[in-house]
Each structure stands twice: as C-alpha cells, then as structure tokens.
Amino acid sequence: MSALELIVSGDARLFAIVGLSLIVTLSATFFAAVIGMPLGALIALTRFPGRNALIVILNGCMGLPPVVVGLGVFLLLSRSGPLGELGILFTPQAMIIAQAVLIGPIIAALTRQVIEDLWAEYRDELVAMDLSRTSRVATLLWDARFSLMTILLAGFGRAAAEVGAVMIVGGNIDGFTRVMTTTIALETSKGNLALAIGLGLVLISIILLINAMAWAVRGWAERHAG
C-alpha cells in the first residue's frame, strides 16, 4: 500500500500514531508555555544578581540536544532515579515531560526577549498609569500576544519534529508510546517506506496547517485589535 493510500484510506494504525503524537506534543507545548512564558516575563522585568548569567544559560538551553534531554529525563524517572516512584518511564507522560523540558527554555528565552523589548517601549506609560507589577506583566503578555503565538509555534514545531528524547523515555512501544517521528525512524530502518513517507507527509501537513491557522488568526486579530 502506498503512502497516499494509507492516508486516504484512514489507516487505523497510522492515525493512532498521529493522534498520540498530537496529544504528546500539544500537552508538552501547553506545559512549557504555562511555565516558560511567566518565567521569561519575570526575568525580563526583574533585576537581580546573576541575571545576566541566567539569561546566557537560558539562551544556551535553546540548543539542548534532544538525546541529552532524553537521557536526563530517563535518569530522573528510572526506578533508581529521584522520581522513579512515579512509575511513568516508557509512558506518554514521560514523553510529555521530555518534550516540555526540551522546548521550555526556547519559550522562556524568546518570551524574555520579546517582553524586555516591549517593556522598553511601554515602561514610562505603564509606570505613569501606576500599574502594579502583576498588572504590568499581564499587560505586556497580552500586548505581545502575536509574538508569543509565534514563539509557541516555534516550540510546537521543535517538539513535533523531535525524535531522540521521546525515543529514550518513551521506548517506542507499539500502540502505546510510538509517535510519528519514532515510527518514521523505525519503519525506515525496516524498509517500510510507505508508512514512513505517509507519516512524514502527515507530520509536515500538521505543522503547516497549524502555522497557517495561527497566521490567519494573527491577521484577523491585528486587523481588529491593532
């Protein structure tokens, strides 16, 4: 069966893998955003000793190798690791954690830069309005929402395309932790190119579709809110 036939016929195995991939990646993006965006905003608006070093480390972590992240999360979640009692190694939850750790620094570092630039523009106005620190952060995050959406897409894209970390902590277990990227790697090595190409096409289509939707939403919102 060709790659296109698999897609058009709605092959159950293929779409189960796609479904799990979306759940893992969207969950990881959500958790990374919930932690990374406020953290980035906080670093942007706060002055403290060691801030510059923290920014350098955070920026450096944007290039974390996925296999190293996978190894770190593996050690953390393995039976003898500090979080071994959770018993979630080789489960989708472990894959979500690994992807969140991978893209969290990307979201935090880029958010820090966007908010810091916006703060330079808004500082006098918001201080003159006598806004509290919390209100300032909320205002900056809201007014930077279009840039933050692009950051989320960057994080989602990185997580969706990642293979090394989820392979290590998920184990690529058929029907349980097998996602698009790990399946593509496995099926290619087995010579089952139809499924590998089919999944590759679906993966690229999903990323393009989500980016197109985000672009459309951004365009509409900019026309209506400025």
Binding site: D124, E125, V127, A128, M129, S135, D143, H224, G226
Partner: protein, 237 residues
C-alpha cells in the same frame, strides 16, 4: 473646586539630575501651584522633559527633592501624556477602559463614550488604536489621561509631530481641560502654542531654571538674555 486633598503646589528644592556624567538639571528650585497652565519652555536638551517626568515621579533626583502638598497617593492624582504615546494593542475604547481600570474607576461604557466624544473620537471607538493617525493617537492619549480624572495633567510636547489642524484639535482639548479645573503642566518649544495656552512660563536652558513668571510678562519683558534670544528666534545653545 475639588474636595479631595491636593498635591499642589509641587515644590522642587535644589533638584539636580544627571545621566552618567551629563548634567540634565542643575539645582532647580521652583514651585508649581494651582491656576492656569504652566508651560515649560527652552531649547532642546534644556531639561523640560526631565523636569516633567520628575514632577510625575517617573525619575528620582540625584540630589535635592520634589515635594507635594499632600504626598499620599499623589501618583493616582496625576496623569502624563508623552510626546510619542504608546498605543496599547486594542481598540480605542479598550484603551480608555484600560486606563479607567488602572485608575481604579468603574469600567462604565457611558464614561468611555463620553471621554471619546470629548476628544472627537466617538466614531472611532472600535478602531484599533495603532491604526489611528498621529493626531488621533495623541487625542486618544489625552482621553486616556483624562480617564484618570487627574488633578494635574503633564504634557510633554503633545503636538510636536502634528500638522496644524491636528495641533488645533489637541490645543482645544487642553484649553477645555484647563478650564475644567485640571492643572496643566506642559513642555513645548512652540512659541505660538505657549502664547495661546500658557498662564505661567518656566524657562529653562542648559538644565538651569532661568525664569518663572506670568506668560504675559515673559513674552513682553523677559528677564534674561537667553530668554530674549530664544523669543527672538536665535539659537540658544
């Protein structure tokens, strides 16, 4: 007459401010009291904007002090319109709503509509603020400042980049606001504008206060050579 505590007069006592090694204000002492608009004049770099920001509490003196008649909660009683106001990424009406909320006032649609009407933007309530023209943005910034129901309104060259029609629109709002009892403290280097609006002139050059007097006296009989040269259109460096 307002029945709440007043922050006026605002007193500057030997205030000095510098950025790095560059002195911006040098031992400025003055008092800004209630009454007709006080207009700060002087060449570029004379310290007008710094003095305004310091009166608003946005900058802290390196030495000297700024005092208000009633210190408590004075920031809530003041509003500031910048030369290039920042338009928040939302509609004109929501910009006003934001300012009302920041000032702790009720987010009343009727108040928002009245404020927008007062600056001639009633028909543009739903337009994204960043898509307004320069003059419209400046008028929206004024409405946003007035949403705070301020006792003192600081204006930093509010018409610097506007054409004559837009300038007149802004000046009319300022004049109406002053007549309504709001103390206007404004920086400008536009002599015509100062003649039209000022009740009192504060003249600065090189970070020093050279004159503070009624506008009619300043324009007819300035006390210093620098002010005479400035009024004559000569370069005061």
């Amino acid at each position: 007459m307002r029945d709440r505590p007043t922050s006026l007069p605002i007193r500057f006592d030997a205030v000095t401010y510098s950025a790095g090694t560059t002195a911006i204000l040098r031992e400025v002492s003055l008092s800004i009291g209630a009454g007709p608009p006080t207009v700060l004049m002087g060449p570029n770099g004379s310290g007008k904007t710094t003095l305004l920001k310091m009166a608003m509490g946005l900058l802290t003196p390196v030495s000297g002090r700024v005092d208000y008649a009633d210190q408590k909660d004075q920031a809530r009683r003041h509003a500031f319109v910048f030369q290039k106001p920042v338009m928040l990424r939302r509609t004109a009406a929501r910009n006003i709503a934001f300012a009302l909320k920041a000032a702790g006032r009720a987010n009343d649609p009727a108040v928002i509509a009245r404020l927008l009407e007062s600056v001639g933007l009633g028909a543009l309530a739903d337009r994204p603020a960043r898509r307004l023209s320069g003059g419209e943005q400046q008028r929206l910034a004024l409405a946003r400042a007035l949403a705070r129901d301020p006792e003192v309104l600081f204006l930093d060259e509010p018409t610097a980049s506007l054409d004559p029609a837009a300038t007149k629109g802004v000046e009319d709002i300022i004049a109406r606001t002053a007549q309504a009892g709001v103390k206007i403290v404004m920086a400008t280097h536009d002599l015509g504008q100062a003649r039209r609006l000022a009740g009192e002139i504060v003249f600065l050059a090189n970070g020093r206060l050279l004159e503070q007097m009624p506008a009619s006296t300043f324009f007819t009989n300035p006390a210093t050579t620098e002010a005479r040269r400035f009024l004559a259109g000569e370069l005061v460096i």
